[in-house]
């Protein structure tokens, strides 16, 4: 994914205008914020305005979030601080420049691994990194009145990683929606369908370098997104996503959503065309995530138990046989099999091994 100079200039102008407008609205100014930060920190190298204040998503109750880049040493443990002043509520976090650059470096290596491994690495990120993922995203998208988009070099890697994770989540959510539908759940399939659509929206926007870590913003960002912003065949997919979202919302509001499986499969097929997902890679068998033992529990009911005694109950006589199941777009399962598979996935005993090795982007393939 490449970021053109025009993209950068447009992003900077957009962020600057949003910050100035919001601060003006709150009776404050960039200088006022800088003075306030200057009173709290002795070694400020730069101040980045981050999050909704730069992205134009801020509302009447939003904080003004800033990241202070400091020259000196910082304690190992740090936390966000709130500063209240003259009607402005500042959310402040501090990092050293080197910490953020090291995190961006790690991010660039992350964007080159398969999406299923990116998802796992993202889960572990906050445990091993000085700069939590959400803060890194904010810094990369942040704006400084001294150095503009100081960390924008990290945006292509961030976009690739977020795109990969979103597509991966979409594929998983589709499989889960199918199983919930085939298993005869009352409402679970609609939950997965919403998650699938939300993930696909996020993927399409990530490709346009529109990244925001908090999922609460996805639909608002999507309301400003135009399908024409992405190149064909993504344009058709974007239109289908919008139509599916309308269908889902309307159906839920009217308490009459049709079964979701067919609609989800259509969206999945379109995404395969748009993202060049390879069919053959959808057919890996399930795998157990930890060592388990199988026990008969009742007639046609068995128990799957881990070594430390955690267990799940499934509605099949031979739970071991479920391991031979493979994910494909024409999955044929009976209701009890579907419910059993869903139970094992929810209890994290099995994984859907969608080892996708290639998502093709418009410019080039990623995550090979």
């Amino acid at each position: 994914m490449s970021l053109s100079q025009a993209d950068i200039v447009g992003k900077e102008a957009f962020a600057k205008a949003n910050i100035e407008a919001l601060l003006d609205q709150r009776g404050s100014s960039v200088k006022g914020v800088k003075d306030l930060i200057g009173c709290q920190f002795s070694d400020v190298a730069d101040i980045l305005f981050v999050s909704t204040v730069t992205s134009g998503l801020a509302g009447s109750t939003s904080d003004v979030d800033v990241v202070v880049i400091v020259d000196g040493d910082l304690a190992d443990e740090r936390m966000s601080t709130m500063i209240f002043s003259e009607g402005v509520r500042l959310g402040v976090t501090a990092y050293r420049d080197g910490e953020i650059r090291a995190a961006i470096e790690r991010l660039s290596s992350l964007s080159r691994i398969p999406p299923s491994r990116i998802v796992a690495a993202r889960k572990d990120w906050d445990r091993g990194e000085r700069v939590p993922w959400i803060e890194l995203e904010r810094c990369v998208n942040g704006y400084s009145f001294e150095t503009a988009n100081r960390y924008i070099a990290g945006l292509p890697s961030l976009a690739e990683a977020c795109f990969g994770m979103a597509v991966e989540q979409f594929r998983r959510a589709v499989v889960l929606a199918l199983l919930a539908d085939y298993g005869g759940e009352c409402r679970g399939q609609y939950g997965y369908a919403i998650v699938a659509v939300r993930a696909l929206m996020d993927a399409l926007m990530a490709e346009r370098f529109d990244i925001h870590s908090n999922p609460k913003w996805v639909f608002e960002r999507w309301s400003k997104f135009r399908p024409e912003q992405v190149k064909s065949p993504r344009t058709d997919l974007a239109r289908s996503v919008a139509a599916t979202w309308r269908w889902l919302l309307q159906g839920l509001s009217d308490h009459c959503v049709a079964p979701t499986a067919a609609r989800m499969l259509d969206l999945y097929r379109e995404s395969r065309v748009a993202f060049d997902v390879r069919l053959a890679e959808d057919r890996d068998p399930l795998r157990w995530r930890r060592p388990v033992r199988f026990f008969p529990f009742m007639d046609d009911v068995s128990m799957v138990m881990t070594e430390d005694g955690r267990f799940a109950i499934v509605e099949v006589a031979d739970a071991k046989s479920l391991a031979g199941f493979s994910i494909s777009d024409d999955m044929k399962v009976d209701p009890s099999q579907a419910r059993s598979l869903l139970a094992l996935m929810r209890s994290s005993l099995v994984d859907i091994p969608i080892d996708q090795t290639c998502f093709s982007l418009v410019e080039r393939s990623i995550a090979r």
Binding site: L57, T93, I134, L176, R187, Y190, I194, K216, V218, E220
Partner: protein, 193 residues
């Protein structure tokens, strides 16, 4: 049931659900928690209700007529309520991808007494207009918050810092006495913004 009553059913369902709303129903009823990690789980759920949940409610106040944003908030609310519910209920955490489906399917009865259908009705549009939707979300938040034992001040409330420090001091003593840690608080302070 008369024809009129049938037509009014979705609205009445929401009202009935709202009337029953309360946080962690067993807390006020004095039911003894016997699981070894019940103290930590209760504190973690309480922490969610006085921090992230309050932040979500504040976000609802800042919807400013943006319908798509409100939809996103409602979905997050359902997901987070389910997350808190599995903590209170003593269940092993499922992957996040399942939260919304499980919220719709099984509800969040341990943390806020809402069934799956009621929680789904909370998320979907009631066709009453965005202002009514916002007010409905505020009402849900007020009812759950008011039902918590004790006064609630959020961490970002200007008066809330002393309240939070006192609370953390007390919880820290409680946790140490039981060999527990408040790692969920450290995680929150490190990553929340």
């Amino acid at each position: 049931m008369t024809e009129d009553a049938s037509a009014a059913q979705p609205f009445d369902c929401r009202r009935e659900a709202a009337d029953r709303l309360e946080a962690i129903p067993y807390l006020r009823r004095g039911l003894v928690q016997a699981a070894p990690d019940a103290l930590r789980r209760t504190m973690e759920a309480y922490w969610f209700l006085i921090t992230d949940f309050q932040n979500l409610l504040e976000d609802v106040d800042g919807v400013d007529g943006r319908e798509a944003y409100l939809t996103g908030l409602k979905i997050r609310l359902a997901e987070r309520l389910y997350e808190a519910d599995q903590i209170v209920g003593g269940r092993e955490a499922a992957d996040r991808i399942h939260y919304l489906a499980l919220a719709f399917e099984t509800g969040a009865t341990s943390v806020c007494a809402l069934s799956g259908k009621e929680l789904m009705d909370t998320v979907v549009d009631s066709h009453e207009g965005i202002e009514a939707e916002v007010e409905r979300m505020r009402d849900i938040g007020r009812r759950i918050t008011r039902s918590l034992p004790g006064a609630v001040h959020g961490p970002f409330d200007a008066q809330g810092e002393r309240y939070m420090l006192r609370l953390l001091q007390r919880w820290s003593r409680l946790a140490q006495g039981r060999g527990e840690t408040l790692d969920f608080v450290a995680e929150y302070l490190r990553t929340s913004s």
